[in-house]
Amino acid sequence: MNYSWDWGLLFREPYVGWIASGFATTCILATYAWLIAFSVGSVIGVFRTLDNKILSTIGTVYVEIFRNIPLLAQMFIWYFVIPELLPHDAQIYVKRGMPNPQFWTAVVALGLYTASRVAEQVRSGIQSIPSGQRAAALAMGFTSTQVYRYVLLPIGFRTVIPSLTNDFLGVFKNSSLALTLGVMELTATARQIEEYSFQSFEPYAAATVLYSCVTLLAITLMRYLERRTRITGTASAGGQ
């Protein structure tokens, strides 16, 4: 293999600035998408556990649609198809007025896609709670809302923290798909540096290290959170 290494490249202008801004874009994109995924996913997940036929159907349909279409296809739909179907004024705004449309399209697509996965975790968390808890809460005179607010959700969320960590890391990694819309996130930046400098290893290595570090950091933080919020006397308390 004949290759002249130049690690110093990563610390020179303009590349060092590109990497920093690419990394920042990835983090911001993933954070916004996660906020959408978590809030929409929680609502849809709760919907799926309700007795109300209409709401639980809405939940099921949402999950099946968003889970069964590849994220990349969903991004294309949000970017190329949805704007065309909007009413005239909204169309003008989306196409001309909206700042940074690629970025926000990616946020929405990634957020709503991940919401379907979060919804499934939240549902399984709520359904894993023995039915006696719900019955006891109702017998105490709690309303349906109160049962969820004070009994089911606090327990349900805590039992699914490990799976939610996986979903968060999924958002973080999947944010790289935004490069297909032209968002300059971390992976796109690495590719751009490769094209400008003809050095292929160093930029990808930098991106790899950054992704791995964030993953490691997230796993460590979530392990801590898991320990802090552990429910005494449950199986998860014995786990590592």
Partner: protein, 217 residues
């Protein structure tokens, strides 16, 4: 703006061929991923510290990276190592096998751990070697336990194959994109892609659910 779904009929052979490429990629990657994943899982559960550490490192490292980045890595790295260019299709195929093996490894490891300890002891007491005990006692039961999860992961992988778009392999999505650009009919084509994936993946996940109920040990 009017819709014109005739364009689909006009390009049906191209699109079907694209869909076939997606299926082909998925099937080869599943087969390769499961074989490699099984080896990794056995390594991870090995009593030899070096083996389990190596496998653990491989799995955790790949699982922390986005698939796109791994595809770029291999696309750039492989030709430099082999010394001649590699076509995009083989490149992504190998990447998929290497990448998915890490995910399959964890599923298979969980499946093997789900087999009761007594089965292992009984196998060894019968005089089977460690390898034969794995081959005839543990793995058949383990695969049965993990089948639903393996299939679900495979459905996810079928969706993930659309990522080959970034290196220009003509799978279903890429073909649709090419047709969309040349005919200026993006709405019809992207919608068709989404609906096709939805139907296939929905049907497949229903089948997995049914299998899970009828096949559980």
């Amino acid at each position: 703006m009017g819709f014109d779904f005739n364009v689909l009929w006009q390009y049906k052979e191209l699109l079907l061929h694209g869909l076939m490429v997606s299926f082909q990629l998925t099937l080869v990657a599943i087969a390769g991923g499961i074989v490699l994943g099984t080896f990794l899982a056995l390594m991870r559960m090995s009593r030899l510290r070096v083996l389990s550490a190596l496998a653990g490192l491989y799995v955790n490292f790949l699982r922390s990276l986005p698939l796109i980045l791994v595809i770029f890595w291999f696309y750039v790295l492989a030709p430099k190592i082999v010394g001649h260019p590699i076509d995009a299709y083989s490149s992504v195929l190998i990447t998929f096998i290497l990448f998915e093996a890490a995910y399959y490894c964890e599923i298979i490891r969980a499946g093997i751990s789900s087999v009761k300890r007594g089965q292992v002891q009984a196998g060894l007491a019968m005089g089977l070697t460690h390898l034969n005990m794995m081959r005839y006692v543990v793995l058949p039961q383990a695969f049965r336990n993990m089948l639903p999860v393996l299939l679900t992961q495979s459905i996810i992988m079928f969706q993930d194959t659309s990522i080959v778009y970034i290196v220009g392999v003509r799978d279903f999505l890429t073909t649709a994109d090419v047709v969309a650009n040349s005919t200026n009919r993006p709405i019809e084509l992207y919608t068709t892609v989404a609906v096709t994936y939805l139907v296939i993946c929905f049907a497949a996940s229903r089948l997995v659910g049914r299998l899970q109920r009828s096949y559980a040990l």
